[in-house]
């Protein structure tokens, strides 16, 4: 008996092969050509979140090794630092590839990178004719790797090139050191356009047997910020909320976005130590829910500048960038977010006083 699958649409309708990708077809063809030659260099796949990086990598692996790459298992690996500290890291692997996110272990990521690649790369394939002569190591969130881990990758990548290939996935190449960039084939995955998202949403709804009005599709696509994963999740949330769809239906926006917007409004309405105190609690709330600090900064800035005129906008942006940068030097994020809001209050108050 087949049980109905209880998976999210995002996973259910994720394309499984390179031919079925919905956009960037030309790139998919190129990737296919790359695999056909039986070999490929190390890859650095980069693009904003929700653009389909991981989907493309999985398709590529499938094209390489066949459907065996879909039989995944989760494994916990154990590493030891020089000072005998134990590190646990979760990996997802099939017989042909292993996927790991070394930044899970924080500053010890270098050890994971060194040990994992050496272990995997030193085991050679016995039979070159039976299958590919190399295995693939997928490393995600490369832009969050520490500098020392990235340096550790450099020579290792060259040394073990005959037995393993690395696929590095990053949101942006800005934080990847040039030495790594020069050793990889960069694959840029741009975010899909609004129209593309809308078409994809229509396709998914058709497969689900739902009727999706065009206008709603466009509305969701616009609200998603060109993030396909988010768009699909939002569509599913809309469906749960109200079906059949109507054109003027409210699009479900993630609640933390509303929360940030409200926090920003508070800072605009009242500039006092008391208000700052209230805001602090709200920021703590956001941070404990795992919203990354840079997202909070972006969200605050976007909402704050709505109430400012030209000159002030530039100033607020300047300080946002400044405080966000400082955040990376320290370890407590709350200080820097709060400092930014206090600065904004001071700026805004003097601006209001000048007006009067």
């Amino acid at each position: 008996m087949r049980r109905p699958k209880m998976s999210l649409w995002v996973d259910k309708h994720c394309p499984k092969s390179l031919e079925k990708l919905d956009y960037h077809e030309e790139q998919a063809l190129q990737l296919k050509g790359l695999v056909k030659q039986g070999d490929f260099p190390h890859l650095l796949v980069y693009g904003p979140s929700g653009a389909g990086k991981k989907t493309r990598v999985m398709c590529l692996l499938r094209e390489l090794y066949g459907s065996g790459t879909e039989r995944l298992r989760i494994e916990k690996l154990e590493f030891h630092t020089a000072s005998k500290k134990r590190l646990d890291i979760t990996t997802i692997s099939s017989n042909y590839h292993i996927e790991v996110n070394p930044s899970d272990v924080g500053i010890y990521d270098r050890i994971v990178v060194q040990e994992l690649i050496k272990n995997a790369a030193q085991a050679q394939q016995f039979d070159v004719n039976g299958q590919r002569s190399f295995k693939v190591i997928v490393i995600t969130e490369v832009d969050n790797l520490s500098k020392s881990a990235q340096h550790a990758l450099r020579r290792t990548m060259e040394k073990y090139v005959s037995t393993c290939r690395l696929i590095l996935i990053a949101n942006s190449t800005a934080r990847v050191i040039p030495a790594i960039k020069s050793r990889c084939l960069g694959i840029r995955v741009a975010a899909p356009s609004i129209e593309m998202i809308s078409i994809t949403l229509q396709n998914i709804c058709r497969k689900e047997g739902l009727n999706m009005p065009n206008e709603l599709g466009m509305k969701i696509s616009n609200a998603s910020g060109r993030n396909l994963r988010r768009a699909i999740l939002m569509t599913e949330a809309c469906k749960v909320k109200q079906y059949p769809f109507t054109n003027n239906q409210e699009v479900v926006v993630p609640d933390w976005e509303i929360y940030i917007a409200k926090t920003a409004t508070m800072a605009v309405q009242e500039q006092s130590p008391q208000c700052l105190q209230n805001i602090r609690e709200r920021i703590y709330e956001l941070l404990t829910h795992g919203i990354p600090a840079e997202i909070i900064f972006r969200g605050l800035l976007k909402n704050l500048v709505k109430n400012c005129d030209g000159q002030l906008k530039a100033q607020v942006t300047y300080y946002a960038a400044d405080y966000e940068e400082q955040l990376h030097k320290g370890s407590k994020q709350i200080f820097h977010i709060e400092a930014f809001l206090a600065k904004f209050m001071a700026l805004y108050k003097s601006f209001l006083q000048e007006m009067n």
């Binding site: 190129q30 050509g33 790359l34 030659q37 039986g38 260099p41 980069y46 693009g47 904003p48 653009a51 494994e75 020089a82 692997s93 017989n95 042909y96 060194q114 272990n119 995997a120 085991a123 050679q124 016995f126 039979d127 070159v128 004719n129 039976g130 002569s133 295995k135 340096h151 450099r154 020579r155 290792t156 060259e158 040394k159 090139v161 005959s162 942006s172 190449t173 800005a174 934080r175 020069s182 084939l185 960069g186 840029r188 741009a190 975010a191 910020g225 060109r226 840079e294 972006r298 800035l301 500048v305 030209g310 906008k313 530039a314 942006t317 300047y318 960038a321 966000e324 940068e325 990376h328």
Partner: protein
């Protein structure tokens, strides 16, 4: 991980004679090897440019002159590692394994390793005769690759070892930034700066490789490879190989593909960026920055190209150029430290709006 490590099936064609198969395997592996490895210079004479270090090494090789401790530094892809590797191979031949200790950033290189492993290796005596009675240099070489990522403490631990064992051991440090090597080490070494390769040298090498590999290159493609790689030969070669792999062998490599693969932002985006800033409309700038980042262009690359553009801009006086360039420098440094791309780019654009 277990399964991942031992998936190799036993050879199906075990009947064929092992030796010829091993050779075929080796041939196949060689044909698939990255061109960077394939065309790495095998002898010191083959090294492109860098006449100073080549002449010193030739003296050692041909006349048996004494080899000083070496410190090779220069930008990536100029042949530092290749040179010393080739020299070591020529010096020792099959004794390479016993006489050369190669450590790079992927190996554990804390103070502990320097104290134990390096010191022990350095203390071994080296005879000036091979087992078969032929002459060979009476010393060993320790190659410390990527030495700038060694800690200060580890470097200090090297100091005395370098002097005391000078009878039997030579050290060769390879690094990108000589400023990150502590003074006492630099004063113990003969320093050689590796210059970025000139255009003609790059063209010569690339055309040679293209010929060997049977790759046809379209008009201006080599030019594009060279301008985007900025004198980094490894990057140029990787780029050429990637381009040729992404498509059919018969079709020539085109300029546009090179630009795309190297992650260069197309000129019209930069042009548009300048136009948008000239409107001095914050919302338009905001939308534009969002868009360009969603296209997965990296902020640091945008800033680099913007910098070139600003320098050539005629309608800007020197003072404003200086202001913008300074801001670019600040933002790039912030990005390097891990700051958010959106915020930094916005801060830069705000400064530009103010200046224009």
């Amino acid at each position: 991980m277990e399964g991942f490590l031992k998936t190799g099936k036993l050879g199906s064609n075990a009947g064929s004679s092992g030796k010829s198969r091993a050779k075929a395997d080796a041939d196949e592996r060689r044909s698939k090897a990255p061109w960077v490895e394939k065309y790495r210079p095998k002898t010191v004479e083959e090294v492109v440019a860098q006449p100073e270090v080549v002449s010193v090494l030739q003296q050692v090789l041909s006349k048996g002159a004494d080899l000083p401790n070496l410190l090779l530094y220069g930008p990536p892809g100029t042949g530092k590692t290749s040179t010393i590797m080739a020299a070591a191979r020529q010096l020792f031949g099959d004794l390479y394994r016993e006489r050369v200790l190669e450590l790079n950033a992927s190996d554990e290189r804390g103070i502990q390793v320097i104290r134990e492993k390096v010191k022990q290796f350095a203390q071994l005596a080296a005879s000036s005769e091979r087992p078969d009675g032929k002459k060979c240099p009476g010393f060993k070489i320790v190659i410390l690759d990527e030495a700038d990522s060694m800690t200060k403490q580890a470097q200090s631990a090297l100091r005395r070892t370098m002097e005391r064992e000078s009878k039997s051991t030579r050290f060769c440090l390879v690094c990108n930034y000589v400023s990150r090597i502590i003074e006492p080490i630099t004063s113990r070494c003969a320093k050689f700066r590796f210059k970025p390769l000139s255009k003609e040298q790059l063209i010569g090498r690339l055309e040679m490789i293209a010929n060997e590999e049977g790759v046809t290159v379209g008009d201006g493609a080599i030019e594009a490879v060279i301008t985007t790689s900025g004198g980094d030969l490894r990057r140029a070669i990787t780029c050429l190989q990637s381009c040729s792999r992404l498509k059919n062998k018969e079709l020539p490599v085109e300029k546009e593909e090179v630009v795309e693969l190297m992650g260069v932002v197309p000129g019209n985006w930069i042009h548009e960026l300048l136009e948008v800033t000239a409107t001095k409309n914050y919302d338009k700038v905001d939308a534009f920055v969002n868009n360009i980042l969603l296209e997965a262009y990296s902020a640091s690359q945008i800033m680099l190209q913007l910098h070139d553009r600003i320098l050539d801009k005629d309608d800007l006086n020197d003072e404003s150029k200086a202001v913008v360039c300074e801001k670019i420098a600040i933002c790039m440094a912030a990005l390097e430290r891990g700051a958010d791309e959106y915020l930094q780019l916005m801060a830069l654009m705000c400064t530009m709006m103010y200046v224009f």
